[in-house]
């Protein structure tokens, strides 16, 4: 799994740097702002991966960025919707007060992250503009443990940090439409706490986002 992520990161970096060099003399414009609607895929890592081991493509992201005049910086927001899930064979959970439960169980986490973000674009006026970004915000998460017809769930709000690399790709030098590809790591203060043998803290994840953009001049 680590190799795949490393490969993805290197691929993004290499491709954006190579194309950026090729495009360095090409015409273009620096947008004043842009909006994205993207498909988001998430892989759980760390403790989160012990709760749900599967990655999930069930997510989307809506974002907006506003370029700070005279700089290569843009500030904006991301709002997301995401779900990860996995079914497990018979497992035993031990709770308080002598309670134990053995059952097939189905776990899923549904999350609605919202973050403020600051980006730095290396060549914002070019057709392909790689960037680095840091998102700071929070998440609303619902962790569900389904056993038979029972739906036991807990909800948590958290604080989260998301360093990201990506590229903004215009469909033409002067096009108002484009695409975005981004890869990020997210650290949260969220937790899962259902039983004595299932306590997970500081949920972390890796995310790949691919979407479409509408750019304003």
């Amino acid at each position: 799994m680590k190799k795949i992520f490393l490969f993805l990161i290197l691929s993004v970096l290499l491709s954006v740097s190579v194309v950026a060099q090729e495009q360095s003399t090409s015409p273009g414009y620096k947008p004043s702002s842009y909006y994205t609607f993207a498909w988001n895929t998430l892989w759980t890592i760390g403790d989160f991966n012990k709760w749900v081991g599967n990655g999930s493509p069930a997510g989307f992201n809506f974002g907006g960025r506003y370029f700070i005049p005279g700089t290569n910086f843009a500030a904006g927001f991301n709002i997301q919707w995401q779900r990860v899930w996995q079914d497990y064979p018979q497992q035993t959970f031990y709770g308080d007060n002598g309670v134990a439960l053995t059952a097939v169980n189905y776990r899923f986490t549904w999350m609605v992250p919202f973050q403020a973000a600051i980006d730095y674009y290396f060549i914002p006026s070019k057709m392909i503009s790689p960037y680095i970004s840091l998102g700071i915000g929070g998440d609303y998460m619902e962790h569900h443990l389904l056993i038979q017809e029972l739906d036991i769930y807990k909800t948590y709000w958290d604080f989260s940090l998301t360093p990201e690399i990506g590229a903004l790709i215009k469909f033409g030098a002067f096009s108002n439409f484009g695409a975005q590809i981004a890869f990020n790591y997210k650290w949260t203060t969220n937790q899962i706490n259902f039983s004595n043998n299932d306590k997970f803290k500081n949920l972390q994840m890796l995310q790949l986002r691919v979407g479409l953009c509408y750019l304003l001049r």
């Binding site: 609607f37 439960l101 053995t102 038979q148």
Partner: protein, 211 residues
């Protein structure tokens, strides 16, 4: 532009299709048996030696209540006794004043919402304290029991009562209970049920005598 619009439309549909909070569920979730147990953490199970079993399974439903003793019921009672014996307890006749008593019920009730634990004790067919030789007494849980609010999936209930700790109110404590749920969903063999009984003991390691 046309490509962009189509792609945007497709992305929109994809996103909307995945908008449901709940993912597609596995059918095994309802079909497999679940084993829920709870014991009184203040009870020292090691200090007891003898137990006695009910002589049939109380079958409790919305429509009727009865006692059953078919081949499957016998297999269930036998396996419970075997599991207790394997933990050092000794089965004796109820007339010999056992330390512990085992009540077993099969529950098929729908639309159960918020009953106090032991709600089915009032049902005809259930083994009341009188049957054990304690007329005028009642059962109670010394712990706040974890229980399901619906028994529509079919539940086998096993309760261990402690005749040595009857309180001044005449209440006999239930010191361990097991719910094996899902009997009416999916297809379950007697082996599935007896394996679940084994599991109910396996997940309660304190349930063994030191005498």
């Amino acid at each position: 532009m046309r490509f962009f619009k189509l792609t945007l439309l497709a992305a929109g549909f994809l996103s909307l299709a995945s908008c449901s909070k709940y993912p597609p569920l596995s059918s095994r979730l309802l079909e497999d048996l679940a084993v829920l147990t709870q014991y009184d953490v203040n009870t020292n199970f090691g200090q007891y030696k003898t137990f006695s079993m009910v002589d049939s399974i109380s079958y409790i439903s919305d429509k009727s209540t009865k006692k059953i003793l078919d081949a499957q019921a016998k297999a269930v009672l036998t396996r419970i006794a075997q599991d207790l014996t394997s933990r050092g307890y000794q089965e004796v006749a109820k007339s010999t004043n056992p330390d512990l008593g085992i009540n077993v019920s099969a529950i098929e009730v729908t639309n159960v919402t918020a009953y106090y634990p032991g709600w089915y004790w009032g049902y005809p067919g259930y083994y009341p304290p009188d049957w054990w030789g304690y007329p005028g007494n009642s059962y109670y849980y010394p712990y706040y029991p974890t229980y399901y609010t619906s028994y529509s999936s079919g539940t086998l209930s096993i309760e261990m009562v402690n005749f040595k700790k009857i309180n001044p109110k005449g209440q006999i404590p239930v010191v361990w209970n097991a719910f094996i749920r899902g009997l009416l969903t999916g297809t379950h063999t007697t082996v599935d049920i007896t394996n679940s009984i084994d599991q109910s003991f396996a997940q309660t390691p304190v349930l063994k005598t030191s005498l």
